[in-house]
Structure formats: structure tokens, C-alpha cells
Symmetry: C2
Subunit: 639 residues, 2 copies
């Protein structure tokens, strides 16, 4: 964690220096008339986007929420490893690690063949495969995640706060102007119930959930299907003699339906998803008047011979399984893509919903807006052409589609009668096999963006077999050269809208002037066709858009600082202080060798270009100067 | 981290439920007339004590500070591994790990024999020996440590805040009463300058630094010696061509003196200790009018051929080396020990001072008051006889003495001319050899309390060769049985004033009713002579004073919950919820086996009794019931 670059400041290092022009959030201060980005909804999608954009003092963000204040409990609770990696970049990964439940194992329970009315454990699976991510899979209530994002916003240069009690009622886009073309009507839901206020925005992002008004305003409709199966979910404080109560469990009873147990933060709380009634094709779940009492009774039937003694129902909800998504995640119809850039977007549940049990809803929603955030920032900072905004819908819709498909399959297996879901000849129940197959997916690690202006071709993939172009950058252990700090390379990436180029040195590279790393660093810093030279503003630090780092095969004590090219010890900030955190070495403490772990070509080395949202954009040879220039020229704007 | 035991509460889990009767801290609220404990001084010693005591709603604590508000910068910055372990117990270990500089390596620089006016690196030492502690040695400014303690206080049941702008002027102890026998005169140092207020306290702890008024009031005088050597210290933002600037360096020049470099939090800041002038025997350093300019000039001379380009001097100070301590750390003279219990204590710099360069001042001060805190809590909660308070001075004075002696030796070596401190025949410079020898000591790990009522004899030490009676409990990796969580066993210990008994199972113990662990747990829970039965109040949780945990040699999947004795799944809190975090297994993920790592007798197993301040109080066989009873009977009071 780097701070004090522009001088010492006492106190919490996460509290960023306040921007000079900030909105006043006092009770009687008027709402703004114009903003750069208006975000509808303080769910995971909206807050993740607001937290991201609040890092850029030049962007005026407003985030409105229909409810009177922050959420306190309920809804989603699964944070997959990919999202944890993102939280790390936002600076609260450690906090979540400390407070949350870690899903280390998932246990499978099915009817005991000897006594089919009783369940018994049939298998156990390590939930996060070794080295699939350096972060754990965690469970913690959605409200706490909201708070952590709110905290990032509050400590940002703009000290951003949500406007609670305002709902986006409608919006229109004026295609004839580029100056705040979106007009949004807000309606008060609080003390001034029904009062309206009009805001003009350059961009609007609808993170307003499944009943999204923003989606409706841009003509989006959710298509999908329902499984006509009612499920209940409850967060409870309870005692039980069920032995695996602090492990994630998937339970299939013989005749009483299925159940999912999710232990939660704090050591006592846990969640249960309980299968309730089959619905008729045209029936809505609400009609059944199901309550937490029904769920507790059903759980007790399913988990026989064990039982549940509930002390406090913290939260509960009943829902029916369904999947749906919209045709596009922005306001531009297919046929206008060439001529117009999007002004309005939807993210999260506003454009795709799925069964909650795969634990994807919150994760995918945040990943949506994390994908969009840096692109908007690039546009506002005039670093990129606004047409990159088309890539949001293209990239995220393909992922949502994949999610709905997988989720669909999984939901059917989860609701299948035990005969089908149990051992089908093999030594492992079908549900367990499917669960293992799904792990990369449920971890959020299967996301794979197709080649585009923002994702290069995989021509040189062989140079970095474990860093797949289009997938997330896969961290591995390194040791920082300057201070011998053992760490994860991926953790140098902050949610700061910057690109990263990791240059992995070839065999024997000792950073002499003739070495490939030296030449690359020198070219990047000085050559007129280098993206660093072309796209970095003169008044900003040299790493403000493209952050160059080098990783050597030697251990830290075998390198010398004297020879480093200046881009690897750049002078930054108002004092021109040297940044000593650009060079890394192979781990010497037994954590593993990054070159081996990630299939990096030891002989030739390579460059891995990583997007601000942590996805691998390109793999190139160390001398792939022309290809590197071409790639960035595809979407960045020269200064 | 366990929470929600008494029901779900939204928000930050570190924010404890507020106690019903709390002091109001509004601007015009009067100061209290009576308190249980009055702490003088908001330095590390005072804040650590206040943070500890604030966990107990039944204790009324007041902490006064002469200065008008919290410290912003300067003074100490070294947090040794032992203190980091304590921070972990206070809940902010991760925070410090994230924000601080980690001392991974220390480099040694001495004159180059070929060009003696130039320095060159002669050696490097890994700063924290492998497995000496699971925590790193860190550097971070003292003010930030203050804030983290203040945060713990603020979030405690009492929402404790310091009273700034009040100085302890004097105090008297009335030996004839047990009801608030200490009368303290406070003097205002702020807007009501000179105004006084009288408070009566049951106990007063002088954490009021080297010029302590509390010490003076109880007749303590600092004895010591001075080395007549001026040193400067400065925290700076600077550039340099010195290659090891982000490693801790000990630099000896040929003729310009010695210097110490300490990189600091945030990646840019660093501290330099620079040797300045030799002083005459009767001269005070203040007379020399030395400033940061002198330090910078001296540093540039010492570090030739490298140089320093200072951009911002954040803080600086000039001091002379000296060591001193008082004869006792409480108000009871030797000859009255049998007849009176202490009412007034001093801690930290108030009773011992030393050269800052060994980085011990802040650490030892906090360890002082951490030693005292739980003893005071035991007395207030009527769990122990007040005579245990004598042990504070006995234990901490012996440690302070050891510190002064080691520090003394080290300061001379650091100030020795390079001829002497350099290679003396061996292949390693003397200073490096001494540094390595000192590592256990500077890490704070050499503290070893002598046998007493609170530290048992080492009769059974052979059962746990790596958990030395009288030294701190040495953590090691385990896996929690209930949820397969890989963790450090030592991290179950919170700064909550509780004792811990770790029962390490012997070979083949499968928790059957006939097993040693089962029998021990059963005896502890039910036998009238068990300390759990004798000393735990009926209205409190069964683990509220003595927290029993068991560690098995099997991996988590080889144990079954059904057979656990109830003390290992106790019902707690207002709902009687089961606590699932009492049982641990050997690590199965390659982190190491705790039995091997800590020399635990695999055949017989053993019990390790650990004090609330994390020191090993006893090692016993699993059936050492009588010895266990006797030990606790030595100082605890039956309910
Ligand atoms: C009742 C419920 C139970 C759920 N249970 C689970 C579960 O058990 N497991 C699971 O994984 N997922 C569950 N989910 C889904 C999960 O919470 C979502 O997938 C996730 O929150 C999506 O995030 P989002 O930001 O897209 O939308 P949301 O979290 O829905 O956030 C949308 C926000 O926008 C606000 N809003 C709506 N309309 C407007 C408007 N016009 N103007 C301003 N603000 C508006 C809403 O009040 C809300 O705060 C549940 C969702 C709900 C609603
Ligand atoms: C100027 C200075 C520089 C230092 N530099 C270093 C360094 O470079 N490296 C290092 O390791 N250590 C350094 N130290 C020492 C280190 O800070 C101390 O060892 C450590 O702070 C001791 O903690 P303490 O709580 O015992 O006392 P202190 O930190 O001294 O705290 C005592 C507190 O009590 C207050 N106080 C004093 N008298 C009264 C009174 N009568 N009533 C109420 N409050 C009172 C003081 O204002 C102060 O806040 C330095 C100390 C000082 C003073």
C-alpha cells in the first residue's frame, strides 16, 4: 500500500486527499441539476460502480436509491474468489477475509440406502481448488459489502454519499447533443413523497434491480423461464445436531426435497435454502403464503434424523426459481451501433436475474459495473474514444448468457429427485461431480472475454500458458525487489483505472543495458510510438495510465538497483520521489515460482498486458513493440 | 472472528454492543468525581491499557492526556513481532500488516577496505527468523498505533474517549481505606489553564512518559547512565542513489559516524538515525542547537559515495543516548509487600527509558500495560485476589532490566568506531553477529517470566518443548475442525482477559468417552474441583474465564462431531447457541504440523495453560487435574 507520495498526512491512509470542489451533503443542500454519471440504485452493482468512479475527482457522480437508507440485512451472501480479488483491488479484501465465513469444503448429503428416510454424508469437496485463486471463497451478508463500498466512497476525493429516498422514475436521451443528453426524472420516496427533481446527466447507469425503471426506459425486457419451483431462504441463529453445520452442505432427501446450508460470518449464523412446493405453471409463489415457519418445518423434514432448533430468524424470503436477461445492456439498438455511442446502461439484476443458490447474483452484478467503471473513467478523462462503451454490453451480455445457461442446469440438478441426482453408476453422486465441474465457473474464474479492441488476439499465448488472454490475470507469489517483501503480484493492481504491463524477464536477464527488459523499459519511456509516451499527459505521473512492472527469475539479492532503467524507478508526485515498487523477483521462501506456476516462457520471457478490471488484454514477446503500440492505438487517444 | 452470539446486529462487527451506563462525552459534561482506574497519559502504554480495560463494561476508566489532542507524528515506529501478536489479539493485526513497512531484511554497510571513505554492503540478515513468529516485524508511525487503540476504545462497550488537556499534577494514597483510596489532582492545560479537578480512583496508572508526575508522586526516581553521544532522528521524504533505501540498514562509516536507515509505511517515507557529536560528560544535547540540517549534512557524509536529496522533513528530534529505570513500578516499598497491595503503578517510559534505536521503547511500554491490564480486570471482576497486582512490578521490572542491559551493549556497538565494529577476524562483522544474537530479544520474544503464582514450575516442560513456561505462547498452524479453516492457533486468543487451556491430544485419541481429551473436558466441565466449575460465575458463559480448546493429531475429516464432550461445543450467550470453534486438527495443507513444530509429546499429548496476556503459565499432562486445580487456586477466587 503506497501513500504519502505528495507529503506526509496524519491519519487513516485510506482517506484520500479531498478534492477542492465537492458537493455539500448537508440536509438542506439542493440536489445537483447536472452530473456526469447518474447511478440508479445502491445495490452491489451501483455501489461498486460508485466506489470505482469516486476515485476520479474529475467525474461528478450522483447515486440515488429509492429506499430511505442503507440495507441492513438479507439478500445475497456469496462472495466468490474472483470478487474477492476485486475487493483486494478496492482495498477491503483483508477486511472481508477477517470478518467472513470461508467456504473451505462443501459436503454432500443424500439418502442413506440402508434407511432412505435418513440422510448421510456421501462426499466432500475442497471448495476452492489449490492455486485457482490466492483469495478464499467467502460468505458474508450483502449489507456489509454495501457498507464497505460506502466506506470507499466516503473516503474518496469526492467524499461521495448516496442520495437516499429518490427513485429514478423515467429518463429520456436526446440523441442530438453530446452535452448531458440524458434527462432523468427523480421522484421522492421520503418526506417529500412524490416530489420530483430533474437531473441532466452525461451517462446513466441503471443498477436498480430486477424491476429496473432504467431498463424499461430504454426499452429492455427480461426474457427468461421459470422452473415453477418455490424455494425459501432464511438466515438463522439455531442449534442442531447435524454434524456439518459449519460447512457448506448440499442435502438431498429421499422424499422431502433438497436443501442447501451456508454457514455465515461470525461463527453462529447460517443460511438455509429450502425446497418448498412445486408450483403450477401459472401460479406465483406469493399466492402460497409461505413463511419462515414453513421453511423450518421443511428443513426438519429434509435433514432427518437430525433436527433444527431455531432461536432467531434474522431474515427470510421465499422465491421461485427463474432465469432471465435482456437483449442488450445499453440503449443502442444493434443497427445503430456504428453511428451512436451508448448513454444509458443497465447492470446487475436490472439486466439479468438467476436462481440465488449458485451464489452468483451479487458477484456478477459487481463484475458488470467493474467492467463498465474504468471504461467510463477513460472516456471522462479523454483517454479513450467513447465507442469503447459498446464493449460493455458485448462483454457482459455474453457472460450473463453463460451464467444463465449454467445456472439453469445447476438449478435442475439441485431440484432433481434424489434417485436422479445421486450416484448414477459412478462413485460420486452426480450433484458432486457437477459441483466440481462448476467450480471454476462459480468461482467467477471462467469469465473469458472475446477478442476485441480491448482484448488482443492470442497469437503469443504460448509465452504465458497460465495467463489466458481474455481471462482474469492470475496472481502468483513474488518477492518485491526493493524490500524483499513476499507478496502476491496481482495485489499491485488497485481499482484505479490504470493498465498494467507485467514484463517477465527471460533467462539470465540481469537488467544490463543490452537486456530485453532494459530495452523495453527504455523504449516505453522514451520512444514516440510507445503507448506510455503517446497517451500519458505531461502533468501526470508516468505510470498514471500504464503502470509498468518487471519480474525477474533471480531472487531479490541477486539483482542490483544501480542498473535499473528509470521507468522501473520512476520519479513521481509533487516531489518527484522515486517509486521503489516496480520490480519483483522470484519467491525465495517456498511459496512457489511464478514462472513455473503460470507457464511463463523462461527462455524468452514475455509481456502480459492487463486491463484496469484485471483481465489479461494481451500476451506479447518482450520485443513486441509494434504489436503493443497497435493494441493501445485501437482505443486510446493521444494526448 | 465470532459475533452475533446474542443476536444479529447490522454493521461493523468490531463495534461492541454499548453498555447501558456510559459516561457522556459531550463538551460541557462534567468530569467524573470517582473512577475505578485513572490512566495518566495517552502514549502507547496508556492507550494499550485503556483499550484493554475498555472491554470490561464493569470497570470505569478515565484516561487523561496533558496535550490538547491526539499525537500526529514522530517518536517511535518499530513494532516487533511480539507486539504484532498482541495487536492481533486486539483485532488490528491485519490492519497494521496492510499499512506498515515490513522489515524483511537488514543490511550492513561498512567502509570499503579499498576506499575507506566509501561505504559498501558487507552483509544481509533475514530480520525475522523463520517460524520465530507468525507475525512480521513492522515499522509504522506511533501516531497511527495510537489511533488504532483509540478506535478499539471508541468501539468498546463503554465507548471510551480520552480527556485531553488535563494533566495529572499530583496524587496521594490513603492506606486506611479500600474505597477509592487514591486522590488525584488534575490540572487543566487548555482553555481553563490552571483550573484543577479532583478525582478519586481505586487505581492509578502513570503512563505519563519519562517526566512522569505519577512516578514522582510515589517517590520513584530514574537511575541510569548516559553515553554522552548525541544522535538525531528524522522522518523524511527524499531521493537517494543509495541502493538499499527500502531495506533496514545499519551503516558504519570510517570517520563520520554511524547511521541507521528504517524504511517506513507507504513506500516513500523513511527514517534515519544519524550519529552526531560526542558530548562532554556534563553537557546536555540541547546546548548544541542541532537541527535537521545538521542531520542531513551528517547523513550525506556518512553515506558517501551516495547522497541524499531531502524533499520534506516530516519530523525530527535530537537526543542523547541514555538508559534508566526506577526501583519499582508500583507504590509499595519492598518491606510493605506482605501487608499492602499496590494502588498506583507506572508503565512505559515513566519507569524505564532507553536508546530508541533498538526500537524497543514503544513495544516494551505496551507490553508493560498489557501485563497489568488483565490483572486489574481480574481484580475488578472479583476473579482474583488483589495481591496478584504485586506481580506486575516483579515481572516487568525484571524485563526492563534485561532490556536496559542489552540496549546498553547494543548502543555501544552501534556507536563504536568502524575498526572495532567491523570484521574482527570472523567472516561476519561484529555488528551483524550481535544483531543476529539479539533477534529474539528485539523481536520481543525473549521475555521470560520467572515462576510465581501466575507462572507454574517447568516440571512437565518436556511435554511441550516449544512452549516454554514463562515465555509467550508460540502460535502454529492448525485447521479448525468444524469448518476446515486453516489458521493460526494463537489467533484464537483475544485481548479479553481470559485464560486459555489448549489440550493437545495424544496419539490415537479419537475423542471416545475413554479418551484423555474427553475425560479432561468432562472433568473440567463437571468436577467440583475443576477450575472451570470453581471460578466461573453461573450467569456467565462457561468459557468466560477459562477457554478450553482441543487440538487433535488427525486431519479435520478424520474426526466426528457426534462424540465431542459438551465443553468442546458449549452452549453460550442468551440463546445457548453452540460454539463450534473449540476443536482443531493438524494442518493438512502443507503449513506444517503443530505437534512437530512445537515439540509436543505425540504419545502422551499435553495441556498448555496460557495467560490472558498470551504467556505460557503451565505445561501439564492431560491428566494433571490436581496440578491444574492447585495452580488456579493459587490466585483465583471461588465464585
Ligand atoms: C429479496 C431478495 C432476496 C435475494 N436473495 C438472494 C439470495 O438468497 N442469494 C443470492 O445470491 N442472491 C439473492 N438475491 C439477489 C441478489 O441480492 C442480487 O442478485 C444482487 O443484489 C444484485 O445486485 P444489483 O445491484 O444488481 O441489484 P439490487 O441488489 O436489487 O439493487 C437494486 C437497488 O436499486 C434500488 N432501486 C430499485 N429501483 C430503483 C429506482 N427506480 N430508483 C432508485 N433506486 C432503485 C433498490 O431499492 C435496490 O437497493 C436476492 C434479491 C432480493 C431482492
Ligand atoms: C521526542 C521523542 C522522540 C522519540 N523518538 C523515538 C524514536 O525515534 N524511536 C523510538 O523507538 N522511541 C522513541 N521515543 C520513545 C517512545 O516514543 C517511547 O518509548 C514510547 O512512546 C513510550 O510510551 P509511553 O506510553 O510510556 O510514554 P509516552 O509515549 O511518552 O507517552 C506519555 C504521554 O503522557 C502525557 N503526559 C505526560 N505527563 C502527563 C501528565 N502529568 N498528565 C497527563 N498526561 C501526561 C504525554 O503528553 C504523553 O502523551 C521518543 C520519545 C520522545 C518523547
Amino acid at each position: 500500500m503506497q501513500y504519502y507520495l505528495d507529503g506526509f498526512r496524519a491519519g487513516d491512509p485510506d482517506l484520500k486527499e479531498a478534492a477542492p470542489c465537492r458537493r455539500a451533503y448537508s440536509d438542506f443542500a439542493p440536489l445537483p441539476e447536472k452530473v456526469d454519471v447518474l447511478i440508479a440504485g445502491c445495490g452491489p452493482a451501483g455501489l461498486c460502480l460508485a466506489a470505482q468512479l469516486s476515485q476520479f475527482p474529475e467525474i461528478d457522480v450522483m447515486i440515488v436509491e429509492r429506499k430511505p437508507g442503507p440495507m441492513e440485512k438479507g439478500q445475497a451472501d456469496g462472495v466468490n474468489t474472483r470478487t474477492m480479488e476485486m475487493f483486494q483491488a478496492f482495498g477491503f479484501g483483508e477486511k472481508v477475509k477477517r470478518e467472513s465465513y470461508w467456504v473451505n469444503q462443501t459436503a454432500f448429503w443424500t439418502p442413506d440406502p440402508e434407511r432412505p428416510a435418513h440422510i448421510r454424508r456421501i462426499g466432500r469437496v475442497q471448495d476452492v481448488a489449490d492455486d485457482s485463486s490466492e483469495m478464499p471463497h467467502t460468505l458474508i451478508n450483502q449489507a456489509r459489502i454495501h457498507e464497505l463500498f460506502l466506506d470507499v466512497m466516503r473516503k474518496s476525493p469526492k467524499r461521495l454519499e448516496p442520495d437516499y429516498g429518490w427513485s429514478v422514475k423515467d429518463l429520456t436521451v436526446d440523441a442530438t447533443t453530446q452535452d448531458h443528453p440524458v434527462t432523468v426524472t427523480l421522484e421522492n420516496t421520503g418526506v417529500n413523497l412524490g416530489a420530483t427533481h430533474t437531473v441532466r446527466a452525461n451517462y446513466v447507469v441503471g443498477c436498480d434491480g430486477a424491476r429496473s425503471n432504467v431498463r424499461k426506459a430504454i426499452g429492455g425486457t427480461l426474457h427468461g423461464d421459470a422452473a415453477h419451483q418455490a424455494w425459501g431462504v432464511m438466515d438463522i441463529l439455531a442449534n442442531t445436531d447435524f454434524p456439518d453445520i459449519r460447512q457448506k452442505c448440499i442435502v438431498a432427501s429421499e422424499a422431502e426435497g433438497n436443501m442447501l446450508i451456508l454457514p455465515r460470518e461470525g461463527g453462529y449464523l447460517f443460511r438455509m435454502y429450502v425446497e418448498l412446493d412445486k408450483l403450477n405453471p401459472d401460479e406465483r409463489v406469493a399466492a402460497r403464503n409461505l413463511t419462515s415457519e414453513h421453511m423450518i418445518a421443511a428443513a426438519n423434514r429434509i435433514m432427518k434424523p437430525y433436527s433444527l432448533d431455531v432461536k432467531e430468524v434474522v431474515w427470510w424470503s421465499v422465491y421461485e426459481i427463474g432465469h432471465s436477461m435482456t437483449d442488450r445492456f445499453d440503449d443502442i439498438p444493434e443497427e445503430q451501433k456504428e453511428t451512436r455511442n451508448p448513454r444509458v446502461f443497465t447492470a446487475g439484476d436490472a439486466c439479468h436475474t438467476h436462481s440465488p443458490k449458485a451464489g452468483q447474483g451479487m458477484n456478477v452484478s459487481m463484475q458488470d459495473s467493474f467492467n463498465l467503471g474504468w471504461k467510463l473513467a477513460h472516456v471522462f478523462r479523454k483517454q479513450a474514444d467513447p465507442n469503447i462503451l459498446h464493449s460493455y454490453s458485448a462483454e457482459r451480455r455474453a457472460e450473463a448468457k453463460r451464467l444463465v445457461d449454467t445456472d439453469h442446469k445447476w438449478a435442475r440438478i439441485m431440484s432433481a429427485p434424489p434417485g436422479e441426482s445421486d450416484l448414477d453408476g459412478a462413485d460420486m453422486p452426480r450433484i458432486q461431480k457437477q459441483f466440481i465441474e462448476n467450480l471454476e465457473f462459480t468461482g467467477g474464474l471462467a469469465v473469458h472475454y472475446a477478442p476485441s479492441a480491448l482484448v488482443g488476439p492470442d497469437t503469443h499465448q504460448a509465452l504465458a500458458r497460465g495467463q489466458i488472454v481474455g481471462k482474469r490475470f492470475h496472481s502468483a507469489p513474488v518477492v518485491r525487489f526493493s524490500d524483499a517483501m513476499q507478496m502476491q503480484l496481482g495485489h499491485v493492481a488497485e481499482a484505479d483505472g490504470r493498465w498494467r504491463i507485467y514484463a517477465f524477464a527471460g533467462a539470465g536477464d540481469n537488467i544490463a543495458k543490452s537486456s530485453e527488459i532494459y530495452k523495453l523499459a527504455d523504449w516505453l519511456e522514451k520512444n514516440p510510438s510507445s503507448p506510455v509516451v503517446r497517451y500519458t499527459r505531461a502533468d501526470e505521473d508516468i505510470d498514471s495510465l500504464i503502470d509498468f512492472r518487471a519480474i525477474f527469475q533471480q531472487t531479490f539479492d541477486a539483482l542490483a538497483y544501480d542498473e535499473m532503467p528509470s521507468l522501473l524507478r520512476p520519479a513521481k508526485g509533487r516531489y518527484g520521489l522515486h517509486d521503489h515498487e516496480k520490480v519483483f523477483c522470484a519467491d525465495h521462501k517456498g511459496a512457489g515460482d511464478i514462472f513455473d506456476m503460470r507457464g511463463l516462457d523462461r527462455e524468452r520471457g514475455c509481456m502480459v498486458v492487463v486491463r484496469p478490471d484485471q483481465y489479461v488484454a494481451h500476451v506479447l514477446p518482450l520485443n513486441g513493440y509494434a504489436e503493443l503500440s497497435t493494441f493501445f492505438a485501437g482505443f486510446l487517444r493521444p494526448v
